[in-house]
C-alpha cells in the first residue's frame, strides 16, 4: 500500500512472467488423491479463483502453494521461489488467509497484528507502525484494543485478511474469504479485496460461491475431485458451458405434479432445486412453456446462464450439493 511495497511487487515474477505457477501438482492421502495433477498460472495483479464444491481439493491446493503442505509430485513457483525446494522462503513473500481465521483469542486485535508481523520478521517498531496502518485501512482502528472473541464474524474475517497484509505481501492466497458471512459483511470483504487488487496485489482465492467468483475473479478454474475441469474468465466459462438463458419456475407443492407431467410429455429436461424448477433451452431456443401460464401457482421467469450452470454442465452436479 506504500510506494516502497509497490516497487517490491513489480519485481517478483516467475521465469514465465507469472506470480503463481503450479505444474501438475498432486497430493495423496493414502490412496486418495486430494489434488490429482493440476496446473495453472496466476499473472501479476490478477485475481484468480478456484471454484468448486467442498472436498474438491481447493484448500489442499492453497496449502501446497503457500508452503504449508508438501506436494507428492509436481512443481510450484511463487514469485520466483521454488516452493517445493524452499517452503520457508515462500512464506516470507506470501500473505495467507486460512479458512478458519486462526485468530489468537488470548490477545487483542492490535496484538494479533503486531505479534504476527513480529513473528514474520518485521522489527518491533516496524510491526507496530504497520499494525496501525492496516487497522486504519480495514476500518478496525476503533476495535484496536478489543478482545478478538468480542468481534463479529465479519470483523474477524477482515482482521484475518488484515493480518495477511502485515508484511505488505505481493501475493496473497485466501481460502474462502466470505464463507459463513452475512451478505453485508460479505460485501465489505469484497470491497476490500477490490482495493487490494487496485493496489496491485495478486490474489488467489477459493470459493464455492458462484457470485463471489463472478464478482471478484479475473480468471478462474472449475475444480472437482482434485482436478481442474476448465479454466477461463467468468464470461468465457459461461459462454462455453452455460445456456444463454434458463427458465425458472416457482412452483407451489400443489402444482408440482402438473408441471412435471407437462415437461415430461414434451421431453423437456429440467431439474428441481427446492421449490424451483429450472428449465434449460436446447441450442439456445426458449422451450415452449406457454401451456404452463394458465396453471395456478406457477410463476415463470428467465435469467441469464451463470457459473452455477457452468458447474452443472461440466460435472452434472449442483455446485451447492453437500
Amino acid at each position: 500500500m506504500t510506494n516502497e511495497s509497490q516497487v517490491k511487487r513489480d519485481s517478483v515474477r516467475n521465469s514465465n512472467g507469472s506470480v503463481i505457477q503450479a505444474e501438475n501438482i498432486r497430493k495423496l492421502y493414502g490412496d486418495f488423491a486430494a489434488v490429482d495433477g493440476i496446473s495453472f498460472n496466476v499473472e501479476p495483479g490478477e485475481t484468480y479463483g478456484l471454484l468448486g464444491p467442498n472436498g474438491a481439493g481447493k484448500t489442499t491446493t492453497m496449502r501446497m502453494l503457500s508452503g504449508l503442505s508438501p506436494v507428492n509430485s509436481g512443481d510450484i513457483n511463487v514469485a520466483g521461489i521454488d516452493v517445493v525446494k524452499d517452503n520457508r522462503a515462500v512464506r516470507e513473500v506470501m500473505g495467507v488467509v486460512t479458512q478458519h481465521d486462526g485468530l489468537d483469542n488470548g490477545l487483542t486485535v492490535f496484538q494479533n497484528l503486531f505479534l504476527h508481523g513480529f513473528l514474520a520478521g518485521l522489527s518491533r517498531k516496524g510491526s507496530k507502525n504497520r499494525a496501525h496502518e492496516v487497522l486504519e485501512f480495514f476500518g478496525l482502528r476503533d476495535r484496536s484494543k478489543a478482545n478478538v472473541y468480542e468481534l463479529s464474524g465479519g470483523m474477524k474475517r477482515r482482521l484475518a485478511i488484515a493480518r495477511s497484509m502485515m508484511t505488505s505481501p505481493t501475493v496473497i492466497v485466501m481460502d474462502e474469504p466470505s464463507t459463513g458471512l452475512d451478505p453485508q459483511s460479505r460485501n465489505r470483504v469484497w470491497e476490500e479485496l477490490a482495493v487490494l487488487k487496485d493496489a496491485g496485489v495478486t490474489v488467489l482465492l477459493s470459493t464455492h460461491y458462484m457470485e463471489e467468483a463472478t464478482i471478484l475473479c479475473d480468471r478462474l478454474s472449475i475444480m472437482d475431485h482434485g482436478k481442474i475441469l476448465d479454466e477461463g474468465t467468468p464470461d468465457q466459462m459461461i459462454e462455453r458451458h452455460a445456456p444463454k438463458e434458463v427458465a425458472q419456475l416457482r412452483v407451489t407443492p400443489a402444482s408440482l405434479r402438473t408441471v412435471r407431467e407437462y415437461l415430461d410429455e414434451r421431453s423437456i429436461t429440467f431439474r428441481e432445486v427446492g421449490a424451483l424448477v429450472s428449465v434449460t433451452g436446447v441450442n439456445g431456443d426458449r422451450p415452449d412453456l406457454s401451456g404452463l401460464e394458465s396453471v395456478e401457482g406457477v410463476r415463470t421467469s428467465y435469467r441469464a446462464g451463470n457459473l452455477e450452470d457452468v458447474f452443472l454442465s461440466i460435472t452434472g452436479r449442483e455446485l451447492r450439493d453437500e
Binding site: 506436494v71 525446494k85 516470507e92 486460512t98 489468537d104 513473528l119 514474520a120
Partner: protein, 261 residues
C-alpha cells in the same frame, strides 16, 4: 512418500516471536497467572514446611524437614508449569489454529517447539525464583549456593516442556490431557524424592523412581539447596540431558505429523 520439508538452520525470530506472543498473553492475564506462579506453591510450601515439618523434625543429620522438602517442592511445582504449558496450552493453540497461523510466516515446527519450550523455561524460572524467595524468608533456603537451583529450573523447563508435546501432539480432545497429570505429573511429584528420600522406598521401587526425570532434577536442586555435591549429581544431570535429547525429536515428529498435512 511426501517430499520432506527442509528445515535449513534455526531462524531466531521464529523463537523470539513465539516467546513474545506467550509473554504478552501471560502479562494480559497476570492477575490469574500469579495465583499459580506464586500463591499456590507458597500455600503448599507453608503447609508442608510448617505443618508436616513440625511432626517430622529432621530428615538427615542437621537438616530440618522444611529445608529438605523446599527444593523438592519448588522443582516439582516448576515441572507442573512446564508440562502444562506444552500440553494443555499447546493443545489449545493447535485447536484454535494459533500454530496454523504462525506457520503462514517463515517458521518451522522445530522452531515452534523451541519457542514454546523457551517459554516453559521462563515460566519455570519465574515460579522457582518467586517461591525460593519466600522459602528463603522462612529460613528454609540458606546460603548463596541455593541460587544454583536456577540450573535445575532451566533443565526442568526444557525436559518437561518437551515431554508435554508428546501429549498435546496426539491428544484427540482435552480430556485426553488429564493423562498428563494422572500418569506423569502426579506420580512424579510424589515419588521423585520431593517429600521423602527415595532411599526409604522398597528396593525394587527405587530404580523406577530414578527413571522419572523429576527425581534427577530434585536431586540436583537439593544439592544446591544443601550445598552438598557428589558424582551422583553429575549423573543426574547427564540423565536429564539424555532423556531430553531422546524425547524432543519425538515431540517434533509428532507435532509435525499433526500440523503439516
Amino acid at each position: 512418500m511426501n517430499r520432506a520439508i527442509p528445515t535449513p538452520g534455526i531462524r531466531r525470530r521464529s523463537v523470539t516471536g513465539l516467546w513474545l506472543r506467550h509473554a504478552v498473553s501471560f502479562v494480559r492475564y497476570w492477575k490469574f497467572v500469579i495465583t499459580w506462579v506464586l500463591i499456590e506453591p507458597v500455600i503448599i510450601l507453608v503447609a508442608v514446611g510448617f505443618g508436616v515439618g513440625k511432626l517430622i523434625g529432621s530428615v538427615e543429620d542437621g537438616v530440618s524437614y522444611a529445608e529438605f522438602v523446599t527444593p523438592g517442592l519448588i522443582i516439582g511445582n516448576a515441572m507442573f508449569h512446564a508440562l502444562f504449558e506444552t500440553s494443555w496450552n499447546a493443545y489449545n493453540r493447535i485447536d484454535n489454529d494459533v500454530y496454523e497461523t504462525a506457520l503462514t510466516t517463515p517458521i518451522t515446527v522445530t522452531e515452534i517447539t523451541m519457542g514454546d519450550i523457551l517459554w516453559a523455561v521462563t515460566r519455570s524460572i519465574l515460579t522457582v525464583v518467586g517461591t525460593a524467595i519466600v522459602a528463603a524468608m522462612f529460613g528454609w533456603l540458606n546460603g548463596w549456593e541455593a541460587i544454583g537451583i536456577l540450573i535445575p529450573a532451566v533443565m526442568v523447563g526444557i525436559t518437561f516442556g518437551a515431554l508435554g508435546f508428546l501429549f498435546s501432539a496426539v491428544a484427540p480432545h482435552t480430556t485426553f490431557l488429564t493423562l498428563v497429570f494422572t500418569l506423569v505429573a502426579s506420580p512424579m511429584f510424589f515419588f521423585s524424592g520431593s517429600f521423602f528420600p527415595i532411599s526409604i522406598l522398597p528396593d525394587w521401587v527405587e530404580p523406577i523412581a530414578w527413571v522419572m526425570p523429576l527425581t534427577s532434577a530434585v536431586h540436583i536442586a537439593r544439592g544446591f539447596a544443601l550445598a552438598s555435591f557428589d558424582m551422583s549429581h553429575v549423573w543426574a544431570a547427564v540423565y536429564m540431558i539424555v532423556f531430553t535429547a531422546i524425547i524432543w525429536p519425538i515431540a517434533i515428529l509428532l507435532l509435525r505429523r499433526r500440523l503439516i498435512k
